[in-house]
């Protein structure tokens, strides 16, 4: 009896995949300068049985080429003291459990700067024996999240920022 309970338990856990230190890159293309920022402290959980996915992005961990850019990003645009995290909660459909590359769609709620929007993202799910990788690229319109760029800086910062995500998941084991 205990054995059966254990087996069921392990199976339930094995459906969940976790990705720590995943990478998100944001890229802003504007006439004066292109600004790229990389965040390697993103964490995510993917439930294979339901397709549910969540991820959490600590805003302060975006790294820029210039230190002043990081400071302005946190202080003037993202208000990271008030909104330290950006999150996504949604569902991925269109992928199977056998090995392969699947073109999938994720639908869910993306929260940035204290504002939540429904988004739909097309991406790739790559299933391997002990690993699942997720790749996607999507635009984030700054005004959708009430991030204001002063007119004087329009040529330095794009109104739409391209966000790339690259997550690698491994089976989740709670400890």
């Amino acid at each position: 009896m205990i054995m059966i309970a254990l087996v069921i338990h392990t199976q339930a856990i094995a459906q969940k995949y976790i990705s720590k230190n995943a990478t998100i890159t944001s890229f802003s293309e504007a006439p004066i300068e292109n600004i790229k920022a990389t965040n390697k402290k993103v964490s995510s959980i993917l439930d294979l049985s339901t397709g549910e996915i969540v991820f959490s992005v600590p805003i302060r961990d975006f790294e820029f080429r210039k230190s002043l850019m990081k400071r302005h990003f946190n202080e003037n645009y993202l208000d990271s003291e008030l909104y330290p995290k950006s999150t996504f909660k949604g569902k991925i459909s269109g992928f199977g459990s056998s090995d392969g590359v699947y073109n999938s769609v994720a639908v869910g709620e993306l929260s940035i700067h204290g504002i939540t929007q429904n988004i739909e993202v097309v991406g790739e799910v790559i299933v391997k024996p002990d690993e699942i990788a997720l790749k996607a690229k999507f635009p984030v319109l700054l005004k959708d999240y009430n991030i204001k760029i002063p007119k004087i800086l329009f040529s330095n910062i794009a109104e739409s920022v391209e966000v790339s995500i690259e997550f690698i998941y491994r089976p989740y084991a709670s400890n």
């Binding site: 976790i18 995510s44 959490s56 600590p58 302060r60 210039k66 008030l82 800086l153 330095n156």
Partner: protein, 275 residues
């Protein structure tokens, strides 16, 4: 999401208080802000004449004195700088070292503490009847800058200061002058802040028309520049000058209009090289 939050609890991340002040100066005096390694800041500061001089002097604008400064982030905690002021033809140099950094998270530190020391050399001609040696021309300032960012909008700073002058005006004057600076910043909008600064002298020489330095101003930020506009009763822009040699009375209307403009350049190698 709950599971994710649970996973993140054990993280040993440190959250530093960023941008306690917008600029490396509160107004005249240094703030606890340091430039990042590899960042060079070019600072142009102006103080005009007295507004109370009236229309004949175009409210002081006919008369201006200027300081050019170059400041550099050497290490994460260390900045150095040099400057030249037209007032008294002073050359100055400083070293700024951060001892503590305000942070929360893994370790909690309530304030930022910075040790500051500067040297100034007066290169103006000595009066005809006097002979000034190099030693006579130098003065030193030592400060401990203690600041806290209380919330995203309000920061305050205390700056215990010691100014040592190798040469003083009269024989009975102290060579060492002690002062306490009080500074504060209140953000009005994201790019506009109101600043206040006051230096109280403990052993101010009496009967010489000396006053404590008082300044009020705004910081305006536009991308790589910070503009600071202010009114102050101090003419000098170096520590020994504004802390101990302010001769105007703010409340008599003897104030100077002034501004600081800073521009930063990235000249060193940045850590993040995947650009």
């Amino acid at each position: 999401m709950d599971l994710l939050n649970q996973e993140n609890v054990d993280s040993t991340s440190i959250i530093y208080a960023e941008a306690t002040f917008k600029s490396s100066r509160v107004i005249n005096g240094h703030s606890v802000e340091l430039r990042s390694p590899g960042v060079l800041e070019f600072l142009i500061s102006h103080r005009f004449g007295l507004i109370s001089d009236g229309i004949g002097e175009f409210f002081g604008l006919d008369d201006s004195n200027i300081r050019f400064g170059l400041e550099f982030g050497v290490l994460n905690n260390l900045n150095v700088g040099i400057g030249r002021s037209s007032f008294e033809k002073q050359y100055d140099g400083f070293i700024k070292y951060r001892l503590l950094r305000q942070q929360t998270g893994f370790r909690s530190v309530p304030i930022t503490a910075v040790f500051f020391t500067s040297m100034a050399i007066n290169s103006s001609d000595a009066p005809p009847d006097q002979d000034w040696s190099f030693t006579n021309r130098t003065s030193y300032t030592y400060q401990l800058l203690l600041a806290r960012k209380f919330n995203p909008n309000f920061s305050a700073q205390l700056s215990p200061s010691l100014v040592h002058k190798n040469m003083v005006e009269l024989a009975q004057d102290d060579n060492d002058l002690y002062a306490l600076g009080i500074g504060a910043r209140h953000k009005l909008t994201k790019r506009l802040a109101l600043n206040f600064e006051y230096y109280y002298m403990f052993n101010k020489p009496e009967g010489r028309g000396l006053h404590n330095s008082l300044s009020i101003g705004v910081d305006i930020e536009t991308g790589g520049h910070v503009f600071q506009l202010h009114v102050t009763n101090s003419r000098a822009m170096i520590e020994k000058g504004f802390i101990t040699e302010t001769t105007s009375d703010f409340f008599d209307g003897d104030i100077h209009l002034g501004f600081n403009i800073s521009r930063v350049f990235n000249i060193g190698k940045q850590k993040n090289t995947d650009w």
